[in-house]
């Protein structure tokens, strides 16, 4: 039997062309991962970078193996100021700017913390805070010079040669994974800033049987101010979730992203995951 329907006869060739085109296109998208078409239904492309334990500033700052008993206490090691050499390598053009950035990021020394809080509470203008920081930094430097010895993270009888340990009571060795230094550095800066403001009842960090995990999508504007905080998933515990939001708000403004990450930072934002158990993975 011969079809005489007008549409069919018109479409006969185009249907074949279309089928061939579709097949080619599916093949094309599957072969070119840059276009983002994947069969495994994972729309979010997240760059996972493995970080060592401890605060981010100590990245690549491994623990020195001592011949005798260690000469510095855990407390002193915690107060260690991050030095430029210990940060991942920077591109020369960024170095100067980054240096300035890092300076403002320096944690105030513990005894100064209270004054710092006061200033913030009184809504003091930022320049004043900067000035206070400068004084604090200067004081800290003198304080440091007064010490008759240098403090380096050190532990005796390290389990494996060439591996260091982080502070305190952790058992896991420090592992530094090779990764994009610029991404790692910027991520570290944000991580450190948020972490510094994340104050939670210790039950969330110490109770190993419990599991708390909250994921937040955060957007910033060109000044680094946090403009939106959106839940991707909540822990189910209101106190934990609130502490995460508080930490992000207090960490605002975020450090300005380096050029290479600017598009992503401003357009895609950040995925910040709060979970004390993540530490065990590193």
């Amino acid at each position: 039997m011969r079809y005489s329907h007008p549409t069919l006869s018109v479409l006969r060739t185009p249907v074949l062309v279309s089928a061939a085109l579709h097949a080619a296109m599916i093949l094309f998208f599957a072969m070119v991962p840059a276009l983002g078409f994947r069969f495994d239904e994972r729309p979010t492309k997240i760059v996972w970078v493995e970080l060592p334990k401890g605060t981010s500033e100590e990245i690549e700052l491994s623990v020195k193996k001592t011949e005798g008993l260690p000469r510095s206490t855990i407390e002193e090691q915690k107060r260690l100021e991050p030095s430029q050499e210990t940060l991942p390598a920077l591109k020369p053009k960024d170095a100067k700017e980054a240096k300035l950035d890092i300076k403002t990021e320096l944690p105030p020394r513990p005894k100064m913390e209270f004054e710092d809080k006061k200033v913030r509470k009184a809504e003091a203008p930022r320049p004043k805070m900067r000035a206070d920081r400068k004084i604090q930094d200067a004081l800290a430097k003198i304080d440091k010079q007064l010490r008759d010895r240098t403090v380096v993270p050190e532990a005796a009888q390290i389990e494996k040669e060439g591996q260091g340990f982080k502070y305190g009571t952790g058992k896991e060795p420090l592992r530094v994974m090779p990764s994009d230094p610029e991404y790692l550095k910027y991520q570290s800066m944000i991580r450190y800033k948020v972490m510094k403001e994340w104050i939670i009842p210790m039950i969330f960090a110490e109770d190993e049987s419990a599991s708390y995990n909250a994921r937040v999508e955060v957007m910033i504007n060109l000044d680094g101010d946090v403009t939106s905080i959106r839940w991707q998933s909540q822990s189910g515990n209101a106190a934990f979730d609130q502490s995460a939001v508080r930490a992000i708000k207090k960490a605002s403004p975020f450090p300005k992203p380096p050029d290479r990450l600017a598009w992503e930072a401003y357009n895609e934002g950040f995925l910040i995951e709060f979970d004390p158990r993540l530490k065990a993975k590193y």
Partner: protein, 429 residues
């Protein structure tokens, strides 16, 4: 024409696919909380004695090393105006001063008995986390306050606190005499266990907290004695030679100690009631300062068998001796954490003793004290989060406590003191 159609189809397909793909958020894992201590406000309790009670709780919170106790000046007026129930508390004020937790309560007395209501709130959630009411004699005020401090620790850290525990120690009490004392962990209420004007030292708690084993020169020879906390039921359990550094097994059935009965100091075990001693270690070098692992299966001790004094461990029956420290030259006084994962010890370094901590297998030795005179004889709290030790930083040796990471070192004994040992959680009635 055909080309345009193809182009159109491809463009449409691409447009549909693109939004699904190009998502690349910068991922930031926040895996550990800030080093900042948790801010807590403890308002004076309403009623007579309420101020003292709040003071005891505030001091407990400071001692724990977990909390930053907010100054009363920042909230006194508001606290006085508002009540102690959820509907009367101005939570917005407490969140504005960044109080992560708030303690409120009241005391009422009736015929010598007092009723104490204590509540812990989360100002951010506007919720009550703990509410307790205690009825007791007026003299139990400290105990009630400590009990509620324990409740706060449980609610905010997940582990019951140790504020109602005690510390035994040795103190110089006269010319040439030393006695065993016991005090509350915050330094209050010290009392003498021994009053024999001899030299008594180096105590060890029975697991039920009812008895102490210690070394005494009562019969002009160092021997291990056992007595109740009030000094009663005193009896000698060792015979012959110098007998020092007793340690109680976790089940309470055995006391390990160091004795020179066979010439050199070796480890022995004996029943708390006395009887025949069993030799645990042999050799011509000294073995001292035993301490049981929390499961009772192992003993950590100091020995000179490898030249210099080092930390070793052995099974509780005496086999399988294993060396733990290889650095330093005089490591002594090991204390096993009640959790079992850590061992603290005192090591001689730069001419003085300091406290160190390591994993139970000897790895990762880290320093906890430095530059503060001689710091000796660490002993873990029952929850494993704190360590008591003696320090000569203010002249004569006194008793201090700190967190197990060396932070928050605080003097607790009013007078002098040495060889502190943290008692168990349970208290005898």
């Amino acid at each position: 024409m055909k080309n345009r159609k193809i182009f159109f189809t491809v463009a449409l397909m691409a447009a549909m696919l693109l939004p699904m793909g190009a998502w690349a958020r910068i991922y930031v894992p926040i895996d550990q909380p800030s080093d900042q201590k948790f801010p807590i406000a403890v308002a004076d309790l309403r009623g007579s004695g309420g101020r003292d009670m709040a003071g005891i709780i505030r001091n407990d919170m400071e001692l724990s090393g977990y909390f930053r106790v907010l100054s009363e000046d920042s909230f006194k007026d508001v606290a006085r105006k508002e009540g102690i129930s959820i509907d009367t508390i101005r939570f917005d004020f407490w969140t504005a001063i960044e109080a992560g937790a708030l303690v409120k309560g009241e005391v009422s007395s009736e015929g010598g008995k007092m009723t104490v209501t204590l509540r812990l709130f989360d100002p951010f959630l506007k919720q009550m986390l703990v509410g307790k009411q205690y009825r007791a004699d007026k003299k139990s005020m400290r105990e009630i306050a400590h009990r509620f401090s324990n409740e706060i620790m449980l609610a905010l850290t997940g582990i019951w606190g140790v504020f109602d525990t005690r510390i035994s120690y040795t103190a110089v009490s006269g010319k040439k005499s030393k006695e065993i004392y016991v005090m509350d962990m915050d330094g209050h209420g010290p009392f003498a266990v021994t009053k024999n004007k001899s030299i008594n030292m180096g105590s060890a708690w029975s697991p039920d907290g009812g008895r102490l084993a210690f070394t005494s020169y009562l019969k002009n020879n160092p021997d291990v004695y056992v007595s109740s906390l009030n000094g009663g039921n005193l009896h000698r359990i060792s015979i012959g030679g110098s007998n020092i550094t007793p340690a109680w097994s976790p089940d309470g059935g055995i006391i390990a100690f160091s004795s020179s009965a066979a010439g050199t100091a070796n480890l022995y075990t004996i029943s708390p009631g006395g009887g025949a001693a069993r030799r645990l270690t042999a050799g011509s070098s000294i073995d001292i300062s035993p301490d049981y692992s929390p499961d009772g299966g192992s003993i950590v001790f100091a020995s000179e068998r490898a030249g210099g004094l080092h930390i070793f461990r052995t099974s509780a029956s005496g086999g399988g001796v294993q060396r733990l420290t290889f650095v330093g030259y005089q490591n002594d006084m090991p204390s096993w954490s009640p959790i079992g994962d850590k061992i603290a010890f005192a090591g001689r370094d730069m001419g003085t003793f300091d406290i160190f901590i390591m994993n139970a297998d000897g790895s990762n030795i880290q320093r906890l004290t430095i530059g503060t005179g001689s710091n000796e004889h660490p002993s873990f709290s029952p929850d494993g989060r704190m360590i008591t030790f003696s320090s000569s930083r203010e002249g004569g040796a006194a008793i201090y406590i700190m967190r197990a990471d060396g932070s928050n070192q605080t003097r607790v004994s009013k007078g002098n003191g040495m060889l502190p040992v943290w008692g168990p959680q349970k208290r005898p009635e």
